[in-house]
């Protein structure tokens, strides 16, 4: 008799727990914001543990990477020399365009762009998993990081801040099922939406069927919506099969160690527009940090300086050139 009661109690427990799990799923569906807040609050609590565990792993990965680099040092050196030559050409093109851009801005009497603010952060958790692609970074509300800010590395777009707690924030990667990024593809700047589907290569959707897209086409943000400023490098098209266009992001999730969280302050600009202070809403191009600007102007060719076309104070980043790109002056 006692055993029968015990069995009943066990099955009742299972039943209640299954119902509770179902209720949790419904809650997640009904109030995604609440669940997202819960996630980052928990992450905030365990962040010190994650950080202390991830540091030695990072160090070990660095040691492995540097010993691997030692092996093919000569090869890498010559590859880097080639790339440097290539990049110097690009630099010259960029500086010329930048000067031209500054002059055109002057001609058009464009309003000054709002300052973009950067916060650097370290990746403390890479939860992976089959159903969500996200990262935890060790910066949060205390550093001014808020939901919706964009996350970049030197290579390109990583994703957006999904939620931020005091010390940590969760980054929704562009490969996540919930991620949608308006992009422009190739030289024709075909408009599309880059939709994550939890695979390594996100898909391009809402693409005009008349557009011709080929493997190797560059994908950059289009800035159509207010979520992303235009021109951020995203990736390259890797496969085009029966309307299924896949993009390889420039940023590889597993390699990300440090990121920049950018507050591009678009809402303020739109407020300005609504208040009638600006005639047309202008999407602010992203600015490089002051240090990068200084480096760029310091390395500018002497003749450019002499001609008075030295770098203006802000630099509008072009899509990052990849090795093998053609340069068209």
């Amino acid at each position: 008799m006692w055993n029968a009661w015990k069995l009943l109690a066990t099955w009742l427990t299972y039943g209640v727990l299954v119902l509770a799990a179902g209720a949790a799923m419904l809650l997640g569906k009904a109030d995604a914001v609440l669940v997202e807040r819960l996630r980052v609050q928990v992450a905030d609590v365990v962040a010190p543990i994650l950080e202390s565990v991830s540091r030695p792993v990072d160090r070990a990965a660095d040691v492995v990477a540097s010993s691997r680099r030692l092996v093919d040092l000569v090869e890498e050196n010559s590859a880097l020399r080639q790339e440097r030559e290539h990049l110097l050409q690009w630099q010259a093109v960029a500086q010329r365009l930048e000067a031209e851009n500054a002059q055109l801005r002057d001609l058009l009497k464009l309003v000054a762009e709002p300052e973009a603010r950067f916060v650097a952060a370290r990746v403390v958790a890479d939860p992976g998993g089959a159903y969500a692609h996200s990262l935890l970074v060790n910066t949060g509300r205390r550093d001014g990081v808020e939901k919706g800010q964009i996350v970049l590395t030197g290579e390109g777009l990583v994703g957006r801040i999904a939620a931020s707690a005091n010390r940590v924030s969760r980054v929704l990667l562009i490969s996540d099922l919930n991620s949608r990024v308006p992009v422009a593809v190739g030289e024709g700047r075909a408009r599309a939406i880059l939709a994550g589907d939890n695979s390594v290569y996100p898909r391009l959707i809402h693409l005009d069927p008349d557009e011709t897209i080929a493997s190797g086409d560059q994908v950059v943000t289009s800035g159509i919506t207010d979520a992303f400023p235009p021109g951020l490098p995203v990736g390259t098209v890797v496969s085009v099969q029966h309307g299924d266009v896949r993009v390889a992001p420039f940023v590889k999730q597993s390699r990300v160690e440090f990121v920049r969280v950018v507050d591009h302050r678009l809402p303020a600009l739109i407020d300005d527009f609504l208040a009638g202070r600006t005639e047309t809403p202008i999407l602010p191009p992203l600015q490089l940090p002051a240090a990068a600007n200084a480096q760029l102007s310091a390395s500018a060719p002497a003749e450019a300086q002499a001609e008075g076309t030295a770098a203006p104070p802000t630099v509008v980043p072009l899509p990052v050139p990849r090795p093998g790109d053609r340069i068209r002056p």
Partner: protein
């Protein structure tokens, strides 16, 4: 025989090890490993842990603990809230009812049993996530993760056996 206070405290500390270990494994699976794609197909170590303790010390891995571990996994991994909680509770129920069959069997049988359960677990999770989003989500990652989880069972099994014998002790 009446146990002393310290003895009881020692026993209690040993008895929470299985659940704490499972939580630690959930946390561990989020550490960035800097190896391409590894984080995406990292084995579900907590699932192995729940399987082990439900089989050999069910008194130390109650269903509510499996639920809490699953919920912690959902919160940290960013998976739809409640999915892993559901899967872990169902797996707990399945192992609990089949304990009599598995106890005393060879490791190969136990491994095979886990392979079947893990297959079921990942299928349920995939269906639950698909239902959550209202579309058939890409299951490649889940399939690979099921593979790595089943494949790495012998490795983590050794650890769990050592932990069982040295720290937790027999019932």
């Amino acid at each position: 025989m009446k146990r002393s206070f310290w003895h009881r405290l020692d026993l209690l500390a040993r008895h929470v090890v299985p659940v704490l270990l499972a939580f630690a494994l959930v946390l561990l699976s989020t550490v960035p490993l800097r190896v391409p794609l590894l984080n995406l197909v990292f084995p579900a170590l907590a699932l192995v842990s729940i399987y082990y303790w439900t089989l050999y010390r069910p008194d130390l891995m109650p269903p509510a603990a499996a639920f809490a571990i699953g919920l912690a996994d959902d919160v940290l991994s960013g998976a739809p809230f409640g999915v892993n909680a559901l899967v872990f509770v169902l797996i707990h129920a399945a192992v609990n009812t089949q304990r009599g069959f598995f106890l005393g069997k060879s490791f190969a049988i136990v491994w095979l049993g886990f392979a079947l359960l893990a297959g079921a677990a990942f299928t349920i999770a995939w269906l639950a996530v698909s239902a959550f989003y209202g579309l058939l989500v890409n299951g490649t990652g889940a399939l690979l993760q099921a593979g790595t989880t089943i494949g790495c069972l012998p490795l983590i099994w050794r650890l769990l056996v050592q932990c069982h014998l040295r720290i937790v002790g027999q019932a």
